[in-house]
């Protein structure tokens, strides 16, 4: 069955299934969502109005047996940044969408009344239903109820109270294989889903399968690809300690933003580190190793139990733990796990929300390190939509403006994640030039600057950093189109068999003849398409800048400042 475009119009509650236009045929994941946004969304539209569109797309290899290919992309104009946005996540939805035969789901328009709706996708099409029972509920109640209505095999995309209340930190939750949730985290796409009045989308693949043009070639390439992933030592460490293994090394390098970016090292780093987390998990009978989707061979996720040995949360990432931990000076993993669980339920981005808390602490709303008050604000203010809850639920920039704080770590109004750009300069280029606001995953220079993967670069030197970020941003845009988890990049950077095998799988899946050069060109074209959308939306090179305080406040222990000139940053786009 040929893949189709599924379209839903929430203004007149109509649906259609369309052939894939030739221009979109070679795209998947981020490449597809960004091309659809660029083609169909007016750049000047209000992100929460009827003219924005919310697009979901599985990657090109999602739904196949390719290892680590279960990533889904969501795209729209972001209500947080005002730029184009692609957010991606694991979970089961990419595989369900691909098996449904849905190359992309485009949701447009906006209901004229106050009713809430749900969508059900099957290979036959989309059904729109009114939803009442789950309105006002968190994501865990949604998953439990929707599974009862359909089956536990159903894929689910949902929003919590954050998305319903159109908070710009709202994410979209993606059910994982254990009926817990992962998140399409960044950029406030949950608010876009809320603005379309869709509480959840159920994905029933029935017995749908993804067609493979050359199965023998596909299997052979997947074997090589899988071996490259499994053999790489970074994969092995990720399986043991999760991405949180980074707390100690980033702290050691002096780049762990602490106390709302006022220092580069956190006294409590050991208590929130991957090593400590691993020991706690093992001691309480949790799982240090856990995959967010079937077919993942790296398994960086984990099951974290509480003191009594009961399930508390899963999939805690380094960036989430850093944000709630070092940035808010909370040195207690149980409190962090509790907050992670609450934020998953409300459906708000852990990075944006926790960085917003750091700014609120700076502004005197609560004390640094007061995790009890953070938990109270999450449950009593944000989940209930009080005035304070909405100020924090609209992100770090919102808090800074409301309380007159000048140290506000955002680019294009999106919170800067877990690496200080003064002490690790390449990542600052990524934050500044990313088409989507501050986002480490757009061009993960940390691999080279700190971890020594894919070469080395001095993190305190500007030398070669624009080129490093550019190369990685181009490669990332391509990887984000395949449905592959970004963590394949460690093997891809070091093992010469990895990328050719990935390209062989793409060719075998579709019966085409892509070369490595084609893949690079794909990445460049995606970046340029996204950049052109932002330009049309009113962004200029002057928006590709870090907040002023990075240039004026040296950060310990290196006493480094951000010293790139605007002209130097702007050379990023010379390609």
């Amino acid at each position: 069955m040929a893949d189709k475009i599924f379209r839903v119009n929430m203004t007149d509650l109509s649906t259609s299934i369309e052939d894939v236009p030739a221009d979109w045929a070679g795209h998947g994941g981020r490449g597809l969502t960004s091309n659809i946004v660029a083609a169909e969304v007016p750049p000047s539209c209000h992100p929460l109005g009827p003219n924005n569109k919310l697009i979901f797309a599985p990657g090109l290899l999602s739904g196949t047996a390719a290892s680590n290919s279960g990533r889904i992309s969501a795209g729209a104009k972001s209500p947080l940044t005002g730029t184009i946005k692609e957010s991606n996540s694991g979970g089961t939805s990419a595989q369900r969408l691909a098996k449904i035969g849905c190359k992309a789901l485009i949701i447009e328009g906006q209901p004229k009344d106050d009713s809430w709706y749900s969508l059900l996708l099957t290979p036959e099409g989309v059904t729109i239903s009114k939803e009442e029972e789950l309105v006002g509920k968190g994501n865990f109640a949604v998953v439990e109820t929707v599974e009862k209505r359909f089956s536990d095999k159903i894929g689910i995309l949902s929003i919590g109270q954050g998305g319903e209340m159109l908070m710009t930190a709202a994410n979209i939750s993606v059910k994982d294989p254990d009926s817990h949730v992962r998140s399409l985290g960044r950029g406030g796409l949950g608010a876009v889903m809320g603005s379309k009045k869709i509480k959840f989308i159920a994905l029933d693949a029935q017995d749908g399968k993804v067609a493979i043009a050359d199965m023998d070639a596909f299997r052979a390439a997947n074997k090589i690809f899988t071996k490259a992933l499994v053999d790489h030592p970074v994969s092995q460490a990720l399986g043991t300690y999760g991405s949180n293994v980074l707390v100690n090394i980033i702290n050691e390098a002096g780049g762990l933003p602490t106390k709302n970016f006022s220092a580069g090292q956190f006294e409590g780093h050991e208590q929130i580190s991957g090593e400590t987390m691993h020991d706690i998990i093992v001691e309480r009978g949790g799982k240090p190793t856990h995959g967010c989707h079937a077919g993942c061979v790296i398994k960086c996720s984990q099951i974290y139990n509480d003191l009594k040995g009961n399930y508390k949360t899963s999939g805690m990432e380094y960036e989430s733990i850093w944000a709630m931990g070092a940035d808010c000076t909370v040195d207690n993993l149980d409190q962090i796990a509790e907050m992670d669980h609450i934020m998953d339920d409300i459906g708000i981005d852990t990075i944006e929300t926790a960085v917003a808390f750091g700014v609120a602490m700076e502004g005197g709303v609560l004390e640094f390190g007061d995790s009890e008050e953070m938990i109270r604000i999450l449950t009593e203010e944000i989940a209930k939509g009080t005035a304070l809850g909405r100020v924090i639920g609209n992100g770090a920039g919102s808090v800074g403006r409301t309380y007159g704080v000048t140290r506000v770590p955002v680019v294009k109004n999106q919170a800067i994640p877990a690496y200080d750009p003064r002490a690790i300069k390449g990542i600052g280029i990524t934050y500044a030039t990313s088409t989507q606001g501050a986002d480490h995953t757009m061009g993960y220079t940390i691999a080279t600057e700190i971890l020594g993967v894919g070469g080395t670069a001095d993190p305190l030197s500007k030398e070669g950093m624009v080129e490093l970020s550019r190369g990685l941003q181009i490669a990332t845009a391509a990887i984000d189109s395949t449905g592959m988890c970004l963590f394949i990049a460690f093997a891809a950077l070091d093992d010469g068999t990895c990328l050719p095998a990935l390209i062989d799988m793409l060719n075998a899946r579709f019966g085409i003849n892509l070369t490595a050069e084609d893949v690079t060109n794909l990445g460049m074209s995606i970046l340029k398409t996204e950049h052109a959308f932002n330009t049309a939306a009113g962004f200029t090179n002057l928006d590709d800048r870090l907040p002023e305080f990075f240039a004026t406040e040296p950060v310990a222990p290196h006493n480094a400042v951000w010293d790139f000139s605007g002209e130097e940053i702007d050379t990023f786009w010379n390609f």
Partner: protein
């Protein structure tokens, strides 16, 4: 001379997290790795006083020396 040595991830197993060690003058970063019976092939990153260093870097009195296996995340 005295140097503080810090180990991370699985390098800690059957060793230590942090230890002040008495070393002869002129000891290199690599010699400490060897002395701890850590396979150099497994070493990902060495940092001396929060800056990356190499196996042949000579340690100095009062240094803080961190040894990491190959790790990643993000």
């Amino acid at each position: 001379m005295q140097v503080q040595v810090k180990l991370f991830a699985f390098f800690r197993e059957n060793r230590f997290i942090k230890e002040d060690r008495e070393l002869p003058n002129g000891t290199t970063a690599g010699q400490v790795v060897d002395e701890l019976d850590i396979d150099r092939e497994e070493v990902g990153v060495l940092m001396l006083n929060s800056r990356h260093c190499k196996f042949d870097t000579v340690l100095q009195e009062g240094d803080i020396y961190a040894i990491f296996p190959v790790i990643g995340g993000g």
